[in-house]
């Protein structure tokens, strides 16, 4: 087990340069953007001379660039991302209020897509080259090509406007003040369409990876051993093929999460979901650069953490990893 702990420590250390690189990109954007960096960080359109002075001192903007970078690093890692000018609040507080809703959407859909994509791949691999397999395969191309926001609009058109089954917007019904289980049910009801949209656009990734992986694993040596030993085909597939074939999907889970968050931001806007997507849109329209950069930084860190967690989960599934 000590090998396992060493593995976790090593992986954790390896994400540090990534976070630093993101901070570096943000820093450069602030300095390359038109206008004074102090003004951007202040979040004010026309900050007074005193405010600029104070900020320049606080963020070391009067010091050489390298020192500024150091200070920027320190602040970013402490969670100090400056002020948002449209809300006149610290960026980090704004994000904290909304990140929960975004993560709820992203993680729920990612897990659902993983499970259903894998299931569909296993199902269709039994009918290789058959009609079902072809239909699923074409469907996966089409869904992969679908803009998330457009799919969201189409689902609203069908299920909300025409059938009136689901609400078009929001996370809960503001006119009812529900509590406990009823509130939970209300959130699930509002969650349905956004999650469906995001799940559908992610399924193709898992479907295709698992499908080709099942195909490869079925030709691996140990499957031949198990067949030679007289194990039943079903058992070989369910126990040996599937567990080995699922590994690539697990590794891409973390990476796909980045794709999912992008989709989530757009889908949130369509469904007026009170998450970071909405915040991002406001920031874009009102040119609140500092808020934008803050969102980018926080999302990047979230993805790094998610990738770390999937790596650890992977190591639990695949014993070989721990010894590399």
């Amino acid at each position: 087990m000590s090998g396992f702990i060493r593995f976790i420590i090593r992986r954790t250390i390896s994400i540090v340069p990534m976070v630093l690189l993101i901070v570096l990109i943000n820093f450069f954007i602030i300095h390359l953007a038109p206008g004074n960096p102090a003004q951007i960080i202040s979040g004010l359109e026309q900050p007074s001379r005193e405010v600029i002075k104070a900020l320049e001192h606080r963020y070391g903007l009067d010091k050489p660039l390298v020192v500024q970078l150091g200070i920027y690093f320190k602040n970013a890692l402490k969670g100090d991302l400056g002020y948002s000018y449209i809300y006149s609040e610290p960026v980090i507080d704004l994000i904290k209020e909304r990140i929960g809703a975004t993560l709820l959407l992203t993680l729920t859909s990612a897990i659902l897509a993983f499970v259903s994509g894998t299931f569909l791949a296993a199902w269709s691999s039994r009918y290789k080259k058959g009609i079902l397999d072809s239909i699923l395969s074409i469907l996966s191309y089409v869904l992969y090509a679908m803009p998330s926001f457009w799919l969201a609009l189409i689902l609203i058109l069908i299920f909300s406007s025409n059938l009136r089954w689901f609400p078009t917007a929001g996370m809960f019904n503001v006119r009812l003040s529900l509590h406990g289980f009823a509130r939970f049910g209300d959130i699930l009801y509002h969650l349905f369409l956004p999650v469906l949209t995001l799940t559908l656009i992610q399924i193709p990734v898992y479907f295709r990876v698992t499908r080709s992986s099942i195909f490869q694993v079925s030709r691996d040596e140990y499957i031949l051993t198990m067949t030679a030993a007289g194990l039943e085909r079903k058992k070989i597939f369910n126990k040996y093929v599937l567990k080995n074939a699922i590994l690539p999907s697990v590794t891409i889970f973390g990476l796909t999460l980045g794709y999912a968050i992008t989709g989530a931001a757009l889908v949130e806007i369509v469904f007026a979901w009170p998450g970071m997507g909405r915040l991002m849109l406001d920031a874009v329209f009102k040119r609140d650069y500092n808020l934008l950069l803050g969102i980018y930084f926080v999302l990047a860190v979230c993805i790094c953490i998610a990738i770390l967690l999937t790596d650890i989960f992977y190591a639990i599934l695949d014993p070989r990893i721990r010894y590399k």
Binding site: L21, Y141, A145, L153, S161, L255, G258, V284, Y289
Partner: protein, 297 residues
């Protein structure tokens, strides 16, 4: 033995094109994608002839449902949806080709240099590539476009500048394996310069996976442009499919055609590029399934 055959492979260019097409045809998807793309190119080139109306003209009646005179209806300003879609093809295709092309060029250079020379530079490049692959490029593109301006030129440039790491990763892997091959070692031993080896051997022999990936990235670039336009960050002077959806959204519930048709065309364009990517994989690697097995073993 090995040296000879490999040199021959790099020099037999004319026959390769025929062989390439022969293998490409093996993929039904690849063929369909190719045909769709050809149609799109025709539409883009002859847009003024094909479109029945001026895409900007606000003459017709507002929000007309599809009919013979307006096959895809009109939008909230009375503009013909079909004509706008025809002109939108130009934006989507040029974004696809230019942004993904730029991404391919940058990726090929950085990847082959880093893989061939190795060492500390390679490690740093690898780390940067890793980071870029993990963090979705879309947010970075969004920020840069929001801050520095949203002309179509910027949009293409920024997409190209943020999506190269995938190509670099593929090219790097190729360079790493090629540099250990006998014919490269021979070239090095006979005193060919590194730059020459890179351009005459490594890149021509290893570029194929990047090309297949570039087809996929063209579709990706079209989706990115559409998403930017949907957020109101598209080029203000051009008609694009994403922008049409953005503008039509408030009227969607009583004029479905304004939202549905542009979206169908986005899907069609992106699917055709995915299909082409599929065909290219066959063309470059006819024994795809066999190869994949070797990699996993």
């Amino acid at each position: 033995m090995e040296v000879q055959t490999e040199v021959i492979v790099t020099r037999r260019k004319g026959k390769n094109i025929i062989k390439f097409w022969h293998n490409y045809r093996q993929s039904l998807y690849g063929l369909i994608g190719f045909v769709i793309l050809l149609l799109f190119i025709v539409v883009a080139v002859f847009a003024p002839i094909i479109s029945p109306y001026d895409p900007h003209a606000m003459k017709g009646e507002v929000l007309l449902s599809p009919s013979i005179s307006h096959p895809m209806g009109t939008d909230h300003l009375g503009r013909d949806v079909f004509s706008r879609i025809v002109y939108g093809t130009r934006v989507s295709l040029s974004v696809g080709f230019i942004a993904a092309g730029l991404s391919a060029i940058i990726g090929i250079f950085i990847g082959s240099f880093s893989g061939y020379y190795g060492g500390i530079v390679d490690e740093i490049v690898d780390k940067i590539v890793d980071t870029f692959l993990m963090i979705p490029a879309f947010f970075l593109i969004l920020i840069i476009v929001a801050i520095f301006g949203n002309s179509i030129f910027y949009i293409m440039l920024v997409i190209g500048l943020t999506t190269w790491p995938q190509n670099a990763r593929l090219m790097r892997a190729q360079a790493l394996s090629l540099r250990e091959r006998t014919f490269i070692m021979v070239a090095r031993a006979t005193g060919e310069s590194s730059i020459r080896i890179l351009f005459t051997h490594i890149i021509p022999n290893g570029v194929y996976p990047v090309l297949a990936n570039t087809a996929l990235q063209m579709g990706g670039a079209i989706l990115t442009e559409a998403a930017l336009s949907f957020l109101g960050l598209g080029d203000p002077n051009l008609v694009s499919w994403g922008k049409m959806i953005y503008q039509a959204r408030p009227y969607m519930t009583f004029a479905w055609w304004t939202v549905v048709f542009p979206g169908i065309f986005i899907v069609l364009a992106v699917v055709s590029f995915s299909f082409i990517g599929d065909g290219l994989q066959y063309a470059f690697n006819p024994k795809l399934s066999v190869k994949q097995k070797e990699v996993s073993a």
